[in-house]
Amino acid sequence: MTFRSVVPAPPNALVQPAGRTLVVGLPLLIGYLTALALSEGLLLVSAPLAAGGFGLLALAGCVALPFTADERSQALLPVMTAIPVVRLIVVAAPTADFASIPRLGVLALPTLIVVTLATRTRHSVGQLFRLGPSDWATQLAVVLVAVPLAVIVYLLMPVTPGGRGNLPVIAAGIVLALAVLPDELLFRGLLQPAITAVAGQRAGLYLSAMMYAATFIAYASVGALAAAFAVGLALGWCRQRTDSVVGVVGARVVLVVLVYLAFPAIFNG
């Protein structure tokens, strides 16, 4: 006579696989920010070394995924991978002979592909553009935030003339609008909500603004860093309040058009 256990075995789905212990928290995010900042700083020393830093950071995100223990960490890793990939593309793509505005336009295509792929790991691209609980009037108000922000940015980080090369003004405006779209979707659309889910509202806002500002380290200018941090904070705050990227994308477009095209024409003649 044999006895069998009457207690059913737990279903596989509820068993945590061995080795899945990584939870992305504040210390890991600060470490990531430091590594990103160091790679950006390496641009001042050697572009290949910086490219190596971005490559290692991106690969580290892929290596970490099988060890993540929770859903929020798994949602954050694609974004943490996408940022160094975008920076690696910016450094390695053969765009050195372009003027600054056409170069941004050329780089926008691979950046948009990165952002689309990172978005599709969790949800559809269309979900990014939902309006959220706020109405169109609120989104329009967010767009208007760009005007004072542009003044601050232009004072802290004046743009050198000749950035649009041979492009007519309207074409340069369209290129700028297309160039900032993937950038804004990456930092405010994907990164900020993913970090906020892990680190909380306030830490999420500051960390995502710092990560955005870190991408300006190679300019070796306190003004550029301060301007980028101010833009990251202001647009990040608007993104949190409205729970939508529609307004902040519009604000970013207005901001770059003012900073790169309107203000130089007004102040430099």
Partner: protein, 80 residues
């Protein structure tokens, strides 16, 4: 304001040592090869590979491949 490559780095990529500026492209190629190899191994290791891992590797592989093709085309146009 959009994060790009600042003027000193651009000058280096434009006029710097040819070997050193090519190294940035080689780093990109190395990362692309690692990503493609990892993806191939992942897909061959089990009949149902982890879709989230494959998608994450695509974030590296697809755009880096496009940039790699652009680099190759640019080098060929420089030669011709």
């Amino acid at each position: 304001m959009t994060p790009s490559v600042p003027p000193p780095v651009l000058d280096f990529l434009r006029y710097g040592d040819a070997k050193a500026s090519m190294s940035a492209g080689l780093v990109l190629l190395a990362v692309l090869l690692v990503a493609l190899t990892a993806k191939a191994l992942l897909q061959s290791a089990s009949p149902a590979p982890r879709q989230d891992a494959v998608r994450l590797l695509n974030i590296l592989a697809v755009p880096l491949f496009i940039v790699f093709v652009a680099i190759v085309v640019e080098r060929f146009s420089d030669l011709s």
